[in-house]
């Protein structure tokens, strides 16, 4: 194997290892990763609950769901969707994710922190 190829290989290995190590040496910016995960999960849950509602409606309209069963399943699905939406809204309010202006968001976050500190 030529020297050039060896150098290339070593370079690739070095770049690769550097790329792998990057997250370990770099601090992650933005909000707490746990909160971001929770927000995404809540959003996914909300989408799933709304899709379930749509499916129930479609099955009811096309006669695949008996009216008595629709009367039972629909409120259950609605309650699930409402709970998911509330959770989304609550998390958005806590993190200021629903606020576009960065200054407003920072004030909201500080307020939440102060309220939490006062309640302890």
């Amino acid at each position: 194997m030529t020297v050039l190829v060896w150098i290339l290989l070593i370079l690739l290995v070095g770049i690769g290892l550097g790329f792998i190590a990057m997250p370990l040496v770099r601090a992650r910016g933005g909000g707490s990763p746990g909160q971001a995960d929770e927000r995404r999960e809540a959003l996914r849950e909300k989408e799933g609950a709304l899709q379930l509602l749509r499916d129930l409606e479609q099955d009811h309209r096309t006669g695949k769901l008996e009216p008595e069963d629709y009367a039972v399943l629909r409120p259950e699905a609605e309650a699930r969707a409402i709970a998911a939406m509330k959770r989304c809204d609550g998390l958005a309010a806590e993190t200021g994710a629903d606020v576009e202006d960065p200054i407003e968001r920072a004030i909201r976050l500080e307020r939440v922190r102060l309220e939490r500190g006062a309640s302890r």
């Binding site: 370990l24 992650r28 990763p33 006669g63 695949k64």
Partner: protein, 650 residues
């Protein structure tokens, strides 16, 4: 090149191991930075694996015969297309190809799930790296494509002539994409078990990957059947060969899984079932690979026997033990949220669907491994052929077809028998009428009659599904839309539901093709002189003569056959025989004339020294319904992959 390629393989393996270790550490320490590092390592591993594959591909394309794999699987006369196919044509190349596809899928998971919680993703990525590591270990130490030959030959051996067909170049990658793709749902299932997050989150995450893998397996199976039909020249397309079965079984179980998850999403039931199904589907892909490569079961498709079988057996054992262990550990968290309310319900229908599909897969598995079992028990290798498989799988297939028809009409939770009859009455009447018409026209084959009747019934229920959907759409204020527009928008808005219906239409078409097989006609005409005429299935075939040609690698003898009917010349067919000098192998190339009603399939069966030709002719009724049905099924599968649109309106 050999050294560079080998080092790329070892580096890929090392980084894969690092990625797995980082992922495992991330699970243990619950640290986001470790998961991110694992993700990056997966990208780097994919890079090195890609380099390893690129190196072998380059060697094949330029004919670097110092590499043993290159001269064993290619030669200078092969076109670029077949040299590409040589990458997966041999044992070690195909395992490297598998490892590469695994790395690409892993990259796909990293990208698609980059924002998903680490709790689920980290163990899933670790599992994927474990699987990838296994294949790269094989490539690095057991079946090494970058091995120097004892000498450098002036030319290679070439690819097996049977494999030098366009379909045979596409079919293996399709199947590998399906086999390897099944690892992703498996990995997420492991992730769900390890993390304890056993709600619907993991199901929603794997839906795309499970459908994709299923789609590739479906396409791969149909392409393989097509290759067998046009290349092997026995008139049929499915012989229950072990390698065919190896690709069929995970598809059956994958089908069961895709249906069963709907129940978990809607009713919170079948959680353990779904876990078992997704794990079984992947384990069967490894089983299939074990069958193909270990030589324990003989097959026309198999790679040469090697010691690699022991490695696969060990890997398989580990997967089975680990999967069962995890399910048992978490069984308490997988209790159903609801019970089965009625045996006449969609839930019960899906349960029956699971049982029948699993039963089918088990039947095929038993039949495939029977030679080994019989040898172990009675010291005699007994093979089970098409009669065993057809006897058991035909009623299983018909039961499934019936469920395809019942599924769209049965209600969730419970349905009264009168309600079921109301929904089914018209389809049943159509089915009986169809059977009656066929009996009047002389069809007496019982299975064929039942199949056609069921096909008519199922088609009616699917049409009913679309009719109800269009009606519901019109009731929402879209009465101005024409029916084709309404149907198009219905499918576009709800691709999962109606894409599934299109898949079912494809299945019905394939069953029509199966039913036609009951009426295959076979004729033989031996030792014909040029000018001789014979009749086959209402066609008059006149053997006009032979034409010989030769190239440096192949000697070809073509028979010119004029096909006519009632004195009118229709077309010419040229079945031929090729003698591949280097491989010292003879292959017959059939001539096929296709219509929607049947294929006229002509084989140049034999030649003697005096120019006499013998022919075998098949009339294969309705066989093209199978091929077109396969295409429709795959198109429906592509639709099912699409995400649902947010609202019914618009």
């Amino acid at each position: 090149m050999i050294q560079l390629g080998s080092y790329c393989v070892y580096l890929a393996l090392a980084v894969t191991a690092l990625a797995g270790a980082l992922g495992a550490l991330a699970v243990w320490k619950k640290r986001r930075d470790l998961t991110d590092a694992a993700r990056n390592a997966i990208l780097v591993a994919a890079g090195f694996t890609t380099l390893a594959v690129a190196g072998l591909l380059y060697a094949l394309l330029v004919g670097d015969y110092q590499i043993q794999y290159v001269w064993q699987n290619s030669d200078r006369s092969m076109s670029l297309f077949y040299k590409l196919g040589a990458l997966w044509g041999g044992q070690s190349g195909s395992i490297l190809f598998w490892g590469w596809l695994m790395s690409l899928y892993a990259v796909g998971v990293v990208i698609r799930h980059r924002n998903d919680p680490d709790e689920i993703v980290a163990p899933a990525l670790t599992t994927l790296m474990f699987i990838q590591g296994f294949f790269l270990t094989l490539v690095g130490f057991v079946a090494r494509p970058y091995t120097r030959g004892a000498f450098i030959p002036p030319d290679g051996n070439g690819l097996n002539p049977l494999l030098q067909h366009p379909i045979m170049t596409i079919h293996p990658p399709m199947l590998y994409l399906g086999f390897v793709g099944m690892a992703v749902p498996f990995a997420f299932a492991i992730g769900a078990l390890v993390s304890g997050r056993l709600g619907n989150e993991w199901i929603k995450r794997i839906r795309f990957w499970a459908i994709l893998a299923w789609l590739f397996l479906a396409a791969g199976n149909v392409l393989g059947a097509r290759w067998a039909y046009v290349e092997l020249g026995w008139g049929g397309y499915w012989a229950w060969d072990p390698v065919e079965n190896a690709a069929f079984m995970p598809w059956l179980v994958g089908t069961a899984f895709l249906h069963s998850v709907i129940i978990q999403e809607r009713r919170g039931m079948f959680k353990v079932w779904n876990m078992l199904l997704v794990m079984t589907a992947f384990i069967l892909t490894i089983t299939g690979t074990f069958i193909t490569r270990s030589g324990i079961v003989s097959s026309v498709h198999a790679f040469a026997q090697s010691s690699i079988g022991a490695w696969f057996a060990a890997f398989l054992t580990f997967l089975i033990v680990a999967s069962i262990g995890l399910i048992v550990w978490r069984r308490g968290s997988m209790r159903s949220e609801n019970n089965l309310d009625s045996l006449v319900s969609r839930e019960a229908g899906f349960l029956l669907n699971n049982l029948i599909l699993l039963g089918g897969a088990f039947t095929v598995l038993l039949g495939t491994f029977f030679p080994i079992l019989s040898e172990a028990v009675r010291h005699v290798k007994v093979s089970l052929g098409p009669p065993y498989f057809n006897t058991i799988m035909t009623p299983i297939g018909l039961a499934l077809l019936l469920l395809v028809g019942l599924g769209p009409v049965i209600a969730w939770k419970r349905m009264s028998l009168s309600g079921l009859w109301k929904a089914l009455s018209l389809p049943v009447v159509i089915a009986v009428a169809a059977a009656g018409v066929l009996v009047i026209f002389g069809v007496r084959h019982a299975y064929a009659l039942v199949t056609f009747a069921l096909c008519a019934m199922v088609l009616m229920t699917i049409v009913g599904e679309f009719v109800r959907g269009v009606r519901a759409r019109r009731a929402l204020g879209y009465a101005h839309e024409s029916i084709p527009v309404a149907m198009g928008r219905l499918i576009w808005r709800q691709p999962r539901r109606y894409g599934g219906s299109i898949v079912h239409i494809g299945v019905v078409m394939m069953f029509i093709g199966f039913a036609g097989a009951a009426f295959i006609g076979e004729w033989e005409a031996k030792s014909l002189n040029p000018g001789a005429k014979f009749n086959a299935g209402g066609y008059d075939l006149t053997f006009q003569g032979l034409e010989e040609s030769a190239s440096p690698d192949v000697e070809t003898v073509k028979a010119d056959v004029l096909v006519s009917r009632h004195g009118h010349d229709l077309f010419r067919l040229t079945p031929h025989r090729n003698w591949y000098r280097k491989a010292e192998q003879l292959s017959t190339e059939v001539a096929i004339y296709s219509t929607w009603r049947h294929d006229l399939y002509v084989i140049l069966a034999d030649l003697d020294d005096t120019g006499h030709a013998s022919f075998k002719v098949y009339i294969n009724p309705l066989v093209n319904w199978f091929w077109w049905g396969g295409l429709v099924m795959c198109l429906g599968g592509i639709l099912v992959l699409l995400p649902p649109k947010q609202r019914m309106a618009g």
